[in-house]
């Protein structure tokens, strides 16, 4: 007990990391489900449907399958690096999320530690970039150590692509940093408080719209997603850098990709969409009941679906989902809780919107050719984000210049 009272920071951090890890791992698993479902519906299919009601147990089944498959290591591979690469990719992908504040810093534990962020670094944004810039190694080393030409080409492509687009990614964010004058996530969000005309939220989305577009494009390329998924282009390179990987090492690359998606979505939310700020003015108190009402509506839909469509065990499974959603909704309607979860609710909603956009892009767009990818990154994206930076800086400094 002494230890707990003497090291409040350490204990709180460990607890928060454990909870966050659990949430993120579950979110990763269900992101694959969401992606398959959304793409299927866009393409007029059903997607996963048989394992659990609406395929809800599909991620679990996939995970178990990955665990029990044979783990093949090519005989000519560099064993150490071959094993290290997926761990590196996943560890970097997960640790980046630890820097994100999911709610207002005013929410505190009894011992004075923030509830919604693991650490509140002064230069959090720089550290996030530091961690994501290391992400290239996982992919490049996987490609090199497999000792296969497809994997090597995939690794080469990805390192060239990620270095190129990292420049635009960073430059497109600098405009926001100039506006807020800080690198701390909570201050970056606090700088976006307030409203134009009393109802348009003062997010960076409007003044930095060009920056937002550049960021979103560069972020898709950074995470190797369609239409920039050249490193794993299956029509040319079999599966790119993870051609030789099997079983759980393959699953780790998969999870790392989804973790990176979540990270860049969090960053887009913080920098351009006001983080955990609500889009509605604070005087509209009914918004406190939105999360509860949303969950109750989901429960109502599930209940109707259970009764009308489901048969056998699926009926039981969806019934459990109904009860969980309904119970959660009722808890969220309790006023103190309703007020407390406002921040995380809006944060999650914005992340989900961006993730949906990602999946939508994947279902819609074809892949770029490699030279198109490079010329797009260097000849269009970088100049546009640089111009955005210069114009932003000029607009900020103009009043100072006129005063002399």
């Amino acid at each position: 007990m002494d230890f707990v009272s003497q090291h409040p920071v350490l204990v709180a951090a460990v607890v928060k990391i454990a909870v966050l890890l659990f949430i993120v791992m579950t979110a990763l698993a269900y992101l694959t489900w969401l992606e398959r479902k959304v793409i299927a519906h866009i393409q007029s299919r059903w997607g996963p449907y048989n394992v659990g009601a609406h395929g809800l147990l599909q991620p679990l089944a996939d995970g178990i399958k990955f665990l029990f498959k044979e783990d093949v290591t090519p005989p000519a591979a560099d064993r150490l690096i071959y094993t290290l690469a997926p761990f590196l990719a996943l560890a970097l992908g997960l640790s980046a999320i630890a820097l994100i504040p999911f709610g207002p810093p005013s929410a505190l534990f009894p011992n004075g530690q923030q509830i919604f962020s693991v650490v509140d670094l002064n230069i959090g944004l720089l550290f996030l970039f530091a961690i994501t810039s290391m992400g290239v190694y996982g992919i490049a080393l996987a490609g090199w150590s497999s000792n296969s030409k497809y994997a090597l080409l995939g690794g080469l492509r990805s390192s060239a692509q990620m270095i190129s687009y990292e420049v635009s990614l960073t430059v497109s964010v600098v405009g926001v940093i100039l506006l807020a004058g800080t690198l701390n996530f909570n201050e970056l969000i606090a700088a976006q408080k307030g409203y134009w005309l009393h109802f348009i939220p003062r997010w960076n989305l409007l003044p930095q719209f060009v920056g937002f577009l550049c960021y979103l494009t560069a972020a898709i390329a950074e995470t190797n997603r369609v239409p920039f998924d050249l490193p794993e282009a299956e029509t040319e390179l079999v599966a790119g850098f993870h051609t030789e990987y099997s079983a759980f090492k393959f699953a780790m690359f998969f999870m790392a990709e989804y973790a990176n998606m979540i990270t860049v979505s969090c960053l887009a939310t913080i920098l351009f969409l006001g983080g955990w700020l609500s889009p509605f003015p604070e005087t509209w108190t009914w918004q406190n009941y939105l999360p509860g009402a949303g969950l109750l509506m989901l429960a109502a839909y599930c209940a109707w679906n259970t009764v009308s469509e489901m048969r056998g065990i699926a009926r039981l499974q969806l019934g459990v989902v109904t009860l969980l959603a309904g119970g959660g909704g009722l808890i969220c309607l309790y006023p103190p809780i309703a007020a407390g979860i406002q921040g995380p609710f809006w944060f999650t909603a914005k992340i989900l919107a961006i993730l949906f956009f990602y999946i939508w892009m994947r279902a819609t767009l074809p892949r770029f050719r490699y030279d198109q990818l490079m010329s797009f990154g260097w000849k269009l994206l970088l100049p546009v984000s640089l111009a955005n930076l210069v114009i932003t800086a000029f607009v900020i400094i103009w009043p100072l210049l006129r005063k002399g």
């Binding site: 230069i123 720089l126 530091a130 961690i131 810039s133 290239v136 080469l156 390192s159 270095i163």
Partner: protein, 169 residues
């Protein structure tokens, strides 16, 4: 043993081990990875020294850009196992002990000379974290000219790399 000293010793050990692996490894890519490990350890040491901005820049630029470039070139050239050549006997029997002795001497001097002692006892622990704002003000006021000069340097480096990498027509 307080927590900072333990942290320092661990990072120092990791850094030295990384440097030794860099020398002993025969595959260039293993050397590159060892160097990345050294750089990460040094970044932690910068944090310990109260310079978080430099630590972040160290990881972003050194480990995240320069070393990726090295790894990229190694992959591109498909550099295999290094050929070893015999180095001279003089280097083996005289050079290595002499180098080691030089290191010992530097360490001894640092530990016992007045300058080393003054540094050790002096302001070492007084300053807190250096603020990024102060650093940037210094960079853009006092060191503005060198800063602009580096931008030209980088431009020249880009041009040089382009000229070197261009295919002959």
């Amino acid at each position: 043993m307080s927590i900072p000293i333990i942290l320092f010793l661990v990072c120092a050990l990791v850094a030295v081990a990384g440097a030794v692996v860099l020398i002993l490894a025969r595959e260039p890519i293993h050397s590159a990875l060892a160097l990345v490990v050294v750089m990460m350890a040094l970044a932690v040491l910068y944090l310990l020294l109260g310079a978080p901005f430099i630590a972040a820049v160290q990881i972003i630029v050194y480990a995240g850009a320069i070393m990726v470039l090295f790894v990229f070139v190694i992959m591109l050239l498909n550099a295999g196992v290094e050929e070893r050549t015999d180095f001279s006997k003089l280097a083996k029997f005289a050079g290595v002990p002499l180098g080691f002795f030089l290191l010992l001497e530097i360490a001894h001097w640092l530990a016992h000379s007045p300058i080393g002692a003054a540094i050790a006892n002096g302001a070492g622990s007084s300053a807190g974290e250096s603020s990024t704002t102060e650093l940037s003000e210094m960079l853009f006021r006092q060191y503005l000219f060198p800063f602009e000069a580096t931008s030209i340097l980088i431009l020249i480096a880009i041009l040089g790399a382009l000229v070197l990498a261009r295919k002959e027509e």
